[in-house]
Structure formats: C-alpha cells, structure tokens
Symmetry: C2
Subunit: 343 residues, 2 copies
C-alpha cells in the first residue's frame, strides 16, 4: 500500500550545484504538504557557506549552508541525505561513509553509484557492509542512469515470457538543456578537437555502463563481456542554441553506445545520442521477446527536471527501504512523491 | 542486486484453465534453467483430475493434477502457489487462506486481489494478518490489472516533479485474442442485447477500479469519489474474426472507463477499449506533469501472453518479499524472470 508517511521526512541537501539547488527547491515546494522537510544544507563553496538556501533557490528558506558536514549531520539528525556532489565513486566514498556512520540513509546523484559492484567492488562492499551495520540504505539514481535506460528497459520486460535482446535508444536535444551539458557533449568543437579530448578521457556520458549492468543483472544475465564506443555526431546544418552556435561539419554532440552479450548474441544494447539540433528526441525500448514490446516516451524525457524529480521521488523509497547498498532495480515501482507540489 | 535465486523455487499451479495451463507451461519451460520447478497441480475439473499436467500443455510433465488442495500443499511443501481460479475475492478467500495456512506465498490472477482494501476491507485485513502470521506474501497481478493501466502509469510519473493528472488509454483488438474474451466484450451482439446484459451486471472488464485505486494510492491521492462507465463500441464496418462475425451496427466490444478526482479535477482517468477490429491498438499513459510524459507501448501489449508472463515473473519477487498482502506497487521494478526460456 501507500509508502507515504505521516511524519515529515527530514532531509539534508548535500551539495548545492545546479542539480542540488533544484532538489532543495523541490523539497521546499513539497514541504508544504507536511510530508518532507529540509533541515540542513552542506556545500564547501565559499560563495555559498553561511548563506541561506533561500538565496540560491526560488522557494524561501532560512536553512543556512554549512561546509561542516559532520556538524550538520549531528545537529540536524536527518532521516535522509540528498547527495549531489560528484559523478565518481572515489570522490564521494568518504562523504557517503560519513552520512552512513551518522545513521542517515542516502539518495545520491553520483553516476557511478547506481551499479558500483563491478567497477568498484571494494568500495561497494565497504559501503554495503557499513550501511547494514548502521541500518540505513544507500541508493544512486537520477534520470540516466536510474530510469531512462535501465528501469524503463527492465519494466518493458515485465510482461514478457521470454527475452532475446533489448535495445534502448535515448535521443536528447542538447540544445534545450543547460549550458554545461552542451559543453560536455562537445557542441561547437571541430571533429579533431573532439577526438583529442576523447583521448584524454574527459568525455562521454557517465553511467552508461552502469545502466547496462543494471539491466543485465536485473534479468539474471551474467555480464562477461561488453563493448563501449563514443563517437561525435556531426552537424548536418548550422545550429544555434541560447548558449552557443554549431556550424555544419562541426561536432553537434555525442553518440555513446554500450553492448553486452548473451551466448554470443547481443543481449542488451544502449545507444545514447545527445546533440544540439536533434530533430526527433525520444526514449525508446525495443524488446525482442514474447510478446515483443516497443515502449516509447514520445518527445523524450526532459533530463534536467527529470533528474531532480528522480532524486527527490526516491527519498521516501530509500527511507522505507531495508538496509544496505541498493539499486533502482531493488526499489518499488517508481512514482512521483507528493505529486501536487503547490497544494 | 539480482533477486534470482540459487535453489529452484518450488511452485504448485492452482487452477488449470487457459491461463493456468499457460502458466504451468511457462514454468516447465523455465524449469530447464534450474531456478524454478513445478511440484504440484490442483484443479477440481473431473476431466483434469488424475491426469498429468503434460497432457494439457506443450511441455512434458509427469505432475499429476489433484482436486485435493490440502493434500497437494502438505505433500509438496511448495515455496509459491500460482493461483488462477476465479476473478472474485469471495470465491477465492478460502483457497488463499488454505495456501497461507500451509506457509506458502501466493501469486494470483484474481482480478479483484490487486487492490482489495476498499471493496473487501474485511477479507483484505484477514488475509494480510494471516499472511504476516505465517510469514508469507500474497500478490494479485496480471497484465491488467497489474501492469498496463497501473504499474506503467505510476512508472511514468517516476521522473516528474509534479503531476496534475494522468490519463491511461488501453486499446485492444479483441479479434486477435482468445474466444472467451471476444464473447466477454459482447462482440456480435445487438446494442439492445448488450444493454440488457449490462443491466444484469455480467459485463465489463474486471479490475479497472482496482487499477484506479492502485494509481491513486501509489501517488498518495485520497480516492473519495470516482465514476465508472461501460458502453458498447459499435462496429462501423463488418468484421470477421477466427471465432465470430460482427456486422456493421452490431456491438464490436466495450469501452470501459473509470475516473477519480483530486480537488474536483480529474486526477486519474482510465479508458479501456476492447473490441474486434480495433485499428490502432496501443497502451498509452499521458501524464500532465512537469516534465509532461507521454509513454506509449506501440501496437499495445498482447494480453494473453502478457498475463501469463506477469504472473510467472512475479513468482521470484513474491518469494523474496516481506510478508503480508502486497500490491504490484510494493514490488520491485518488474522484469522478465529467466528471460531465455529455451536455454
């Protein structure tokens, strides 16, 4: 039955970059329902420390941002930390450990956390053991990884008697997204610049292989082998966004793919295209199974809003979860928490 | 992580009508993986008692069908009963109680079981209490109710910051489905016959209001008021199916709708059309939210196969569940169990 609670869930926002600010703002909106409450905020940026959360978001809030995580956690004793600081496990391990040791469950946007068991087995094992000791749950989620290319793919197979393969294609018009994303996909670079920067490794969508592992593991398919590719999408016409311009022949964005195999055939293939000027954005899951399933989000899922939503919507689920390091595939069917924010 | 198990899950098939036979056959196919096993079968039909399951399904099986449920349960000591006997709660309560008292978890196709808390609060409360006493779980599911008009609707809101309304429309070409379904939707009747039979109450899709309640409860919306309507869909041309013919002006099938309200506006509306000759079958969820979501299963979900799949795929989830009377919204993200049946 309903997982909604009578007591407000007390949340600390850890990290107040663009996504963290979006989360804090949404928590403050939903707080009007009496079911959730923002009780603290952590960030190390000197521009933010000692300012109120309200000075960075639309909703009013007197919660003061502190750089002393330990102090915030012990003083506010939150139920859940919403953690949005970095994409990579090694950078966040200590932060997560500190939350867990304080007896607080964590929802995190760290893109490597949705499936850390293969890439970081030692860290994953330490976090899982510690979370169980302290009887708290830990979840990495977001729109991608966390929903578009993993949860939707698994969900599409829920009414199949058999599955031979799954192809997921997400096409995002980066021109509609925020500037850092347009920069991140290399929009406006020459193809040579793109290839050079790709060699340096600073590129591509973080979390694609994590989605691949989530789907394979969710279906019980051992993932012995996989391949991953990153290519530029080259603009076929000039494109102008609010932030930059891309000329025909320049890089418009990325095509990032990953495939895993089952008995030598492709089991799961993920194809992510994020580029400015994409003329048919959508999220599509094609299941070659019985029955076949062709699940589409027409127009695609608008990522910036959806990431914030996925994180905040996970709060009550993680709060109610059994302890340990969880994945989105362990969580109940996703849903909007407190759907009418302006009650 | 993976909910797949090392020991085979031992299953008794309770009810061997068309859906039950499909379930037994699928369990026998998946048994080749070593993760599931059919250990018993129950049916009261004298034509089936003392016959082997193998004589009613494609897969070979020596399991003998018995009418003595108590004996089968105590002799085979299964982990899970897959129960497919009747659509209505009062008819199945004793059967479910017997399974629970035998310490066995149950996945059931009973269309009123996915959300029995409002229509049958006393039965639901007894079953929940008993299931918790005996540390077993009980779940009603299928493709509809259980997936197409409830789980998909909730899932579509999982990346929304706010939701004002959800409209679900499922259009099924009944001409492609089995004969009892074509009869059940009134195909080939005159409109007068349809209206007469509708007065007698033997008509319409069972479980639509259960889906409505699942979605409303899943979103935390109180369901104080709802409306439900059943109308014939009248054929605009002659239609021929493998089983019957419908002339222009005769009934082709049903349009069954249900709506619930939030603050006087429609919160959730479900629109199910099942008729022969439907020319654009699909499953569509439209979320008026932020971001808006337009989730479509193109071509629709083929119901006969999907029902069997939904039931069998729920077995490992119910086996791993905490005790009590559960709903599909409590279960982890749905997925195909042992996707490659012909390993």
């Amino acid at each position: 039955m309903s997982i909604h609670t009578q007591q407000p869930i007390r949340v600390v926002q850890y990290g107040l970059g663009p996504i963290g600010q979006g989360c804090a703002n949404l928590i403050l909106q939903k707080a009007k329902s009496g079911q959730i409450q923002l009780v603290g905020a952590i960030d190390i940026d000197p521009q933010k420390v000692n300012q109120t959360v309200g000075s960075f978001v639309d909703e009013p809030s007197d919660v003061v941002i502190s750089s002393d995580a330990s102090n915030v956690l012990s003083e506010t004793k939150p139920d859940v930390v919403l953690h949005t600081t970095s994409s990579f496990m090694p950078q966040v391990e200590e932060q997560l450990v500190q939350c867990i040791r304080s007896g607080v469950s964590v929802v995190s946007s760290t893109e490597e956390l949705p499936y850390p068991f293969e890439r970081y087995p030692a860290i994953a094992s330490r976090l899982d053991t510690l979370a169980k000791q302290h009887k708290v749950a830990l979840l990495g989620t977001g729109v991608n990884p966390g929903y578009a290319m993993d949860v939707l793919a698994l969900t599409a197979t829920g009414v199949c008697t058999s599955v031979r393969s799954i192809a997921v294609r997400r096409t995002v018009d980066a021109g509609l997204r925020r500037k850092p994303l347009q920069m991140k996909v290399g929009a406006g670079m020459t193809v040579e610049e793109f290839q050079t920067r790709k060699q340096q490794g600073g590129f591509g969508h973080i979390g694609l292989v994590e989605s691949l592992r989530l789907v394979m593991d969710g279906l019980g398919w051992p993932m012995e082998e996989f391949s991953e590719e990153l290519e530029p999408v080259v603009a076929k016409t000039d494109v102008q966004t609010p932030y930059l311009s891309v000329q025909c022949g320049q890089v418009a964005g990325i095509k990032h793919t990953a495939e895993a195999f089952v008995s030598n055939d492709i089991g799961v293939s993920l194809d992510l295209r994020m580029y400015v000027g994409a003329d048919h954005p959508e999220d599509r899951v094609i299941v070659d199974g019985d029955p076949p399933m062709n699940l589409v989000v027409e127009g695609g899922i608008f990522g910036d809003t959806a990431t914030v939503a996925a994180l905040v919507n996970a709060i009550p689920q993680v709060f109610a979860s059994s302890p340990g390091l969880k994945t989105v595939a362990d969580m109940p069917v996703p849903r909007c928490f407190m759907p009418q924010v302006s009650l």
